[in-house]
Symmetry: D2
């Protein structure tokens, strides 16, 4: 990650200006506020603002359940109950805002999560920086033979070198041509006074999908958990999973009780279909069940055995 | 408005606990935080939490426009530009949470605004209080003769008295029967040990639509402005408009620049259709245009003349 | 259910007018189209329009996966795969529109599902019919002693009779006073020429929550499944569950493959938390595990044992 | 536009299979159904399915307004009223589904409209075609000097030739390297058996932003109008505006009354701020008002004068 001096100064300034508030605050998250957590080679995630804490979830649930919740003895238990029984609205009462720098192809996956607010750097309006994602050697994976959207072994030797060269050279060349077509210096002057310069909204189309962009992204805790369940998952592409992992750390600092419930009931949980449940009941009763006897398809059988920690 | 002693004590406690934060704070809104603003006879609106301020709007816009906005000299001007040109995403970067107590028939209108988070007191789970909205005499209006969803003159004399009596008596009687069917005392004991008591989720159906409910309601500034444009409008029903008016005051304290832009470009603005615009151009050119010559329908003509401050 | 002659004639007319289309059609759903399925004492659900079928889900998935899906041998298998792995967007490609008549307190639960389009009969604009929900005797349940939002035994004898009388009398009385305050005949004349009549938007507040309303409700299949998972569930209130059950039948006719996958992977499925999964693994390995040894709370243990079909 | 033979055959087959339906159908849209409308050099828009028609809007409004709308004499008038007074829910009752082929940088703008359902071709799963957008010479515009997100004069002579060469060569080279890194033939064999081939989810990052992608995109009429208002507007980038223009033609065929109301009250309309309205009133009264006297900023004055068809 490479923050400019101007950005570092801005972060330092943001971390200077303390004020008093009557709102709930979370010291563990305040300690992270504005700080850039490095992700990939040039990316980052940083928390810009937040609303609410674990107590805000409980407070919202108690508005819903009114006097009825007087007897619930402690907050963490109530939060676990809400998570287990899919009561989503109390989690919507917490909100968080991130500033993220990320490659465009990652941004294209991310934006599919629609229930969020986004302000992205506009390459129609401004000029993008000369920064692009080049995978670290250990992430340069071959296509998986068994899974069409997965990765296989890491590329080695000449093939690895060749691929890295192609990625790097093409990104640099297309960026250089982008800058050439724009015909504009840092200071906004024409590089070559004889040329007009192509419109920014057109020139950007010459950039490759590993070019970095950045945005402000704001969402509520319920929708953030949904995002994390899909993106902090082993099936997610590595390049978005590392962002989700970094964000999960911020959530653990922010709402520790809700985050633990999320890990237990979502991230670490497994859903058994009606047929799988029936098979598991037979197994618990001591019956030896094989795929054929289970009535499950080969694929479902393998998934269930995987979840149960058995070789398929 | 009648806050219970427990509620008053809770508000006082909330207003005691100051902490330090690195987040942006708005002193004018902090001064209102948690305080209940009375609305109607038993209702209120109070701000429970907020995220962001005028600067957060500018900050988000500058992420979008990057270096391009360096030249924009001042924030209020940028905010006005964003509002005028329907750039909605920067306003989505601010979030606010209210606690509202309101009659059920108002809640039914309000909930139609879908882009918000809501936790409502559950009458399935808990018992509602004995509070219902009875209009003040000056709000007891007759059906409008000209507008099917509007009000005419205020009812007078015997009719007014009779209507108020019916509303009051029916609300009290249905509530008393609700309590009787529940067969439960404040302390959760059976009133009459010989009876079981009807399930809460059923008993509630006996209540009238002017019974008060309450909820936590959280939304972003863009969607709040949309709500306010429709509900702080002269065409909105009085009983929801007074809530919108109270909320507009909190918005003015929170984001004064955005709120002023909203008043100028939305609340106080008028939209001219293609045909109206053509008529206005002719008028400016000095032509005397009547409805027939304008090509507008009678209704559109009247609306346009109203907007131009002329008798139709 | 009581459809008026005008409504029956309208349905008959709608079922007469066949036209040709190039769009996908579903004969089994066409057979149900416009027909009112009775729900509760005066309510109904009827399908008004639909877009797409099982093939549309497959088609959308194949746009996403492109050439990659050529090898997937059959559609139902692909649909099951999508459901199992939480791929929601292909299911969003199907859309359905219902006309529903339902008590207001049910409408208040239903409207919490925000991702849908709704047009409700406006009591601000028009006059509601004299129809209200009175539970059948076998649904007149006592409050559950163990579950604050559940039902216990059915009320018997005098208490049942008394409750039904209260519900019926209060609904009739408040409606009669509503009509009296409106002071308007069916034909729109004044009942009593000496009175002005209260504005409709005010008079409606005198109605009880079991009064029937109606709406058009349109949603996509993914969000409909989410609604059905929560509302066709045993924990849902009976009065909304019967609507969900009726809708589930229409979905089975419309998209049989997707509906079966939904039943197997959602309605009939169970989610095990990380701790529950660990316990189940030990049980399958032959270990005798009790609550204490499982590390689960009493409540979680009971829920897990219930899911496994064992007495807790 | 270049449809493959397989695609042409599929369209022909889709246009063959007529069935009967009880649903409302729109012959003018049926005539366009499945047909690809060419956009840009390789893109297209085609309608895949639709639900509802002008009558469905009216029907939904009448559910809302109940008996109250009996007197409204004709449908088009009601639709115009709904549009003029921002009644959005009846328009949500119509739904349309498009298949669109478009450059990635256009897709990135488009996806910002969140209230829609999308299934996009997955370059994580499958291999993208060798097709990229190269602007026609008359669209090769210079950066606007006055508007940071606008276009100026069309590039001429050597500069134009040079820019087109860069765009074409970079797109071809990066695509060729993408294919080389994938190391896969059309038939799914290894090009070079000595290499493993880079994972698809990684290789795609080498493509430029003018590469074509495709998706299914489904939305309701209200949100489609919102999209068209922003994207069929003169301020929208040309490359997305041509898609919006093509879609506007399909909407005119589908819901002619709603489309005409949209053109009059949205596309061709102008919104005057409180201050502009006050100025217009003075102008109509015969007063000569200049910018200074109006109290408007220079920018607002120019915008208002532009709307009034006057030189600023």
């Amino acid at each position: 990650m490479s923050l400019t001096d101007a950005q570092l100064a801005e972060i330092a300034a943001q971390r200077e200006s303390r004020t008093e508030t009557l709102r709930p605050t979370v010291p563990a998250l305040e300690a992270m506020l504005y700080q850039a957590i490095p992700v990939l080679d040039h990316g980052f995630v940083r928390v810009i603002d937040y609303m609410g804490d674990d107590s805000a979830i409980v407070q919202a649930a108690r508005v819903s359940y009114g006097r009825g919740t007087r007897r619930v003895s402690e907050d963490a238990g109530l939060i676990r109950y809400l998570m287990r029984h899919w009561h989503s609205t109390p989690f919507e009462m917490c909100e968080i805002k991130y500033h993220v720098k990320l490659p465009i192809f990652v941004a294209r996956q991310w934006i599919r999560h629609r229930t969020a607010n986004v302000n992205e750097y506009s390459a129609r309006y401004s000029i993008l920086d000369r920064e692009f994602y080049i995978p670290a050697p250990e992430q340069l994976a071959a296509q998986s033979a068994s899974n069409r959207q997965g990765r296989g072994d890491v590329l080695q030797g000449d093939e690895a070198t060749h691929v890295l060269n192609l990625l790097r050279q093409d990104a640099m060349q297309t960026y250089d041509h982008y800058a050439e077509m724009l015909n504009e210096t840092e200071a906004g002057e024409a590089r070559d006074p004889a040329r007009q310069g192509l419109a920014r909204e057109l020139a950007r189309m010459n950039l490759t999908l590993n070019t970095y962009t950045q945005w402000y992204w704001k969402t509520d805790l319920h929708n953030l958990f949904h995002f994390l369940r899909l993106r902090a998952d082993a099936h997610a592409q590595y390049e978005i999973r590392v962002y989700a992992d970094a964000m999960l750390d911020t959530v653990a600092a922010w709402v520790p009780a809700a985050c633990q419930a999320f890990k237990d009931y979502r991230l670490g949980a497994v859903t058994l279909s009606a047929q799988m449940l029936s098979t598991v009941k037979r197994m618990i009763a001591g019956e030896v069940v094989d795929q054929k006897a289970s009535g499950l398809s080969k694929r479902e059988w393998d998934e269930m055995m995987g979840a149960l920690g058995k070789a398929p």
